[in-house]
C-alpha cells in the first residue's frame, strides 16, 4: 500500500458503492463520498480496521460548490501528493415508478440532478486528475467507472423521470469515453440489470422466485469493476451488463 495513487467512490452508501470501496481498498487508499457520514462511516471503519485505508468526505454530487470543496480537501488535507487511479460514480437518485400523469416534474428534476448532472460535475472534477495520472506510471490506466441500470437503456412504462436521468448519465459516459479514451483515461459503464442484494432489498423475497443468488451480490459487481480498472489500454471495455443468472432479459 505504498502507492501514491488513490480511488474515489461517490454514492458510497449503497451496496455497490461500499463493495467497490472495499475492493479498490485492497490496492489503494479509498475516499468514500456521500451526502452524510451515515452513508459511508461503517464502510470507512470496516476498511480501516481490516488493514486498508479509507476516508469519508461529505459531498453532494449535484452541488458544484460542495463537490469542489470535497476535492480540494482531498488534495490539500486528506491525501496530499496522491494521484487519482480510479473514480466510481455510484450515486442513485430518485428511483421510483409512477404513472406519468401522477408524476411531478420534481421527480424528473431529482433524477436528472443526482443521476446525470452530478455525474457531469463529478467528471469535471475527476477527468483532469485522471489525465494527470496517465503520465504518472500507474499500474493500470486511470479509470472512471459508472454504475448504470436497466433504466439506462430504455424508458420503461411508469419510469420516465428516472430513465431520463439514467440514459443521460450513460450518454455522458459514452461521450467521455470517446473523448478521453484516446488520452489514456478508461471510461466504462456497467448496466446493473436486476435487484442488488442489500439490506433494503432483503424483504423482496419474491425476486426471481427467491432462488439463491437471484439478486446481484455487490461484491460480485465490485469484482467486475476492478477488472474494468485493470484492463490493458489495448482492450478497454466501454460497457458491460451484469445480471443474476436467473434474471429475464
Amino acid at each position: 500500500m505504498a502507492s501514491k495513487f488513490y480511488a474515489i467512490v461517490i454514492g458510497a452508501g449503497t451496496g455497490t458503492g461500499s463493495a467497490a470501496a472495499r475492493r479498490f481498498a485492497k490496492s489503494y487508499p479509498v475516499v468514500l463520498m456521500a451526502r452524510s457520514p451515515a452513508s459511508y462511516q461503517d464502510c470507512v471503519d470496516g476498511i480501516n480496521s481490516s488493514g486498508g485505508k479509507a476516508v469519508g468526505v461529505n459531498a453532494d454530487a449535484a452541488d458544484p460548490a460542495s463537490l469542489k470543496a470535497a476535492f480540494d480537501r482531498i488534495r490539500d488535507e486528506l491525501l496530499p501528493g496522491h494521484q487519482l487511479a480510479a473514480a466510481v460514480y455510484n450515486v442513485g437518485a430518485n428511483f421510483k415508478r409512477a404513472p406519468f400523469l401522477e408524476s411531478k416534474v420534481e421527480d424528473f428534476d431529482g433524477s436528472v440532478a443526482g443521476n446525470a448532472r452530478g455525474f457531469f460535475l463529478f467528471a469535471q472534477q475527476t477527468i483532469p486528475l485522471l489525465l494527470e495520472s496517465v503520465d504518472a506510471s500507474p499500474a493500470y490506466p486511470p479509470t472512471l467507472l459508472i454504475t448504470g441500470a436497466t433504466a439506462s437503456m430504455r424508458g420503461a412504462a411508469n419510469c420516465a423521470g428516472f430513465s431520463a436521468g439514467m440514459v443521460a448519465r450513460r450518454a455522458i459516459g459514452q461521450s467521455l469515453a470517446r473523448e478521453f479514451g484516446p488520452k489514456g483515461v478508461h471510461v466504462a459503464h456497467a448496466v446493473i440489470d436486476g435487484v442488488i442484494d442489500i439490506p433494503r432489498t432483503k424483504a423482496y423475497g419474491n425476486i426471481n422466485g427467491g432462488v439463491e443468488d437471484g439478486k446481484l451480490d455487490p461484491d460480485a459487481i465490485a469484482e467486475s469493476y476492478w477488472h474494468l480498472h485493470t484492463q490493458h489500454r489495448s482492450a478497454f471495455t466501454q460497457e458491460l451488463d451484469l445480471r443474476p443468472y436467473v434474471e429475464k432479459f
Copy 2:
C-alpha cells in the same frame, strides 16, 4: 376543415417545426408555439393566407407556468371546443460541440431544460388532451410526435451536454409510448440523422459534398410525421430514422 380537432407544434421556429405545421394544417387548425412571435409569425401568416388556419402562442416549454398558460389560452380563447389530434415536440436547445473540460454545467442544464424537461412538461399538458381525443372518434389515433437527432442515440465526443438532453427526451418518449399506447395514444420518435436544409444551414456547403438533397428537406420530414400520425393503431411505429441518402451512418 370542419374538424373540431387541432394540432400543436412547439418549437415551431425551425424548418422542421414550420414544415410540420404546414403539413398538419392541410387537415387541422394548427397552433404554433415558440418563445416569441419572431419564430412562428411568418409560418402562421403563410398558413392563414393559403387557406389553412393557424394561430401562434408564446410559450417556453421548460417553464411550467408559461406552458400551462398557453394551453389554457388555447382551450378558453383560441380553439374552444376543439380536441387535440396531434402534438409535435420540436424544441431544439443548446446544440453545441465543445471539449468536455471547456464545457460548463450550464450547457448541460440548458440542454436538459429545453430538450427533456420541456418535453416532460409538454407531455403532461398534452397526454390528458390526447387521451380525451381517443374517445372522440378521431380520423387517426391521437399522436404525440418527438423530433430526435443523432445525439438522441449515443453520446458523441464533445457533445455530452447536448446528448444528455436528447437521450433523456427519447427515453421519456419510450416510457410514454409503453404507458399510453395501450390507451390509444400513439407516441413516436423520429431520429433526424443529418443536417436539415434551412436558411441557417445554407452556408454549410460542404455537407455531404454539397450534393443535391444532401441535407434533409423539412417538408420531407413533415411527410413522415404525417404518416406516423395516420398509422392504424394495429401498426404503430415507435421510432424511425430519417437521413439523406448520402449520409454516412
Copy 3:
C-alpha cells in the same frame, strides 16, 4: 397505370406480402413471387379483377437458378421494357420455438436459407435493376423493402435458429442501405413486432387479450411500406418498427 415501372413482392403468400402487392398495385403492375401458385394466385386474381395488373411467378428465393429464371421471365416475357420501382422481400422461413437441445441444425439451415440467403440472392437480382431505375425518372426513389420481426433484433430463448436467419437478413439490409443509399436506392427494414392478423392466426384468440386491433392488420403494414417507398431521398428511413398499440415491448 401507364407507368413503365413495376413492383415485385416475394413471399407473396402471407398477409403482409399480399397486402403489399395490393397497395403497390394502385400505382404499378405487380409481380408476386412464391414457390407455388397456391400462395399467390388468389391475390393475383384479386388485383386483376379490381382494375390493377398483377402476374404471379414461381420462384424459390434460396435457389439461385430458380430466382434467376424468374427474373429472366419478367424481363423477357412478362413485363418487357419495364423498370423496377420497388421490391419487397417478405419470405418467412422456419419460424419455430424449441428448446435448443431439441433443435436440429436443419432448423438453423432452413431459417438461414429462407430468411437470409434468399434475401442475399434476391438483392443480387434486384439491386442492379433498382440502380438502373435511378436514372429513369421514377416518381419515387427505387426501393428495396425488407420484412423483419422481433427476432431480427435479438435472440430470444428457444429461438436460436430463427433469430440467426432474421438478424442476418437485417444486417444484409443495413449493409445494402449503406452501400446503395448514396447511389439513390432506398433500402429499408420494417420490424414487425407482433402477431399479424391473417387466417392462420385467427385462432390465436388470446393475443393481447383478444382486444380489437391487437394483431397487426396487413393493410396497415402495407401503408407504411408504401410510405417508405415514397420518401424523398433527402429523408430516407432505414428502419422502423410496427406493432399493435397494445403490444408489450
Copy 4:
C-alpha cells in the same frame, strides 16, 4: 492442476484463440481445436513446455460429424473422466470486404458456415457438457464464451456476407444465454472492435496512426475472457466490448 475440469478453445490458431488457451491453461487442461495441427501445435507445445497441459484435436466446426468425433475423442481418449469448465468459440471465417455486386453467395455461405452454423453445432456439443458441470462443484460457473466483432453489431457497407454470419452468431449466443443462464451456464459474447495484434496484422502499420497499443493485445482479450469465466452467477455479463483506447467508435 489436480482439477478434473478442462477448457476447450476452438479456432485456436488465431491470436485470441491461442491467448485464451494459454490463459485458461493456468487453471485447467486445455483442448485446442482447429482444422489442422498447423493452427494449434505451436500453442499446444508452448503450454506443455511451460508447465501447463494442452492437447490439440482436429475438428471442423461447420461439419457435425467432424465435431462429434472430436468430442468423442476428448471424452474417451484424451481427457476421460474430466468435465467441461469453459468453452470458447473463436472461429473466424471469411472476413472480406467487397462491393455487394461483386460478392458471391459463396461468401455469404462461407461466413454463415464458419461464424454461425459452426457455433450452433459447437454449442450443441458443449451445452450438455456444461450443464453436467453445473452440478459438479466447479470453482466458477460453466461458461460458453463467444468471440464477436464490430460486424456482429451491424452490417457495414461492403460487408454483407461477413456480417450475416457474425450477427447470427451473436443472436444464437443471446438465445443460449437466455435459455441456459437460469440453468447455471454462463454464455457471454465479446465484441472485439479493432484490429488484433497478431503476426498477420503486423504490416497494418497505419492502424490508429501506428500508436503503441493501437491494436488489441490477444493476452489482454484473454484476461477479459478469464474474468467472464470467473464471474459469480449473481452477476453474469452477457456482452462486453473490447477496443483499443485510441479506436474510434
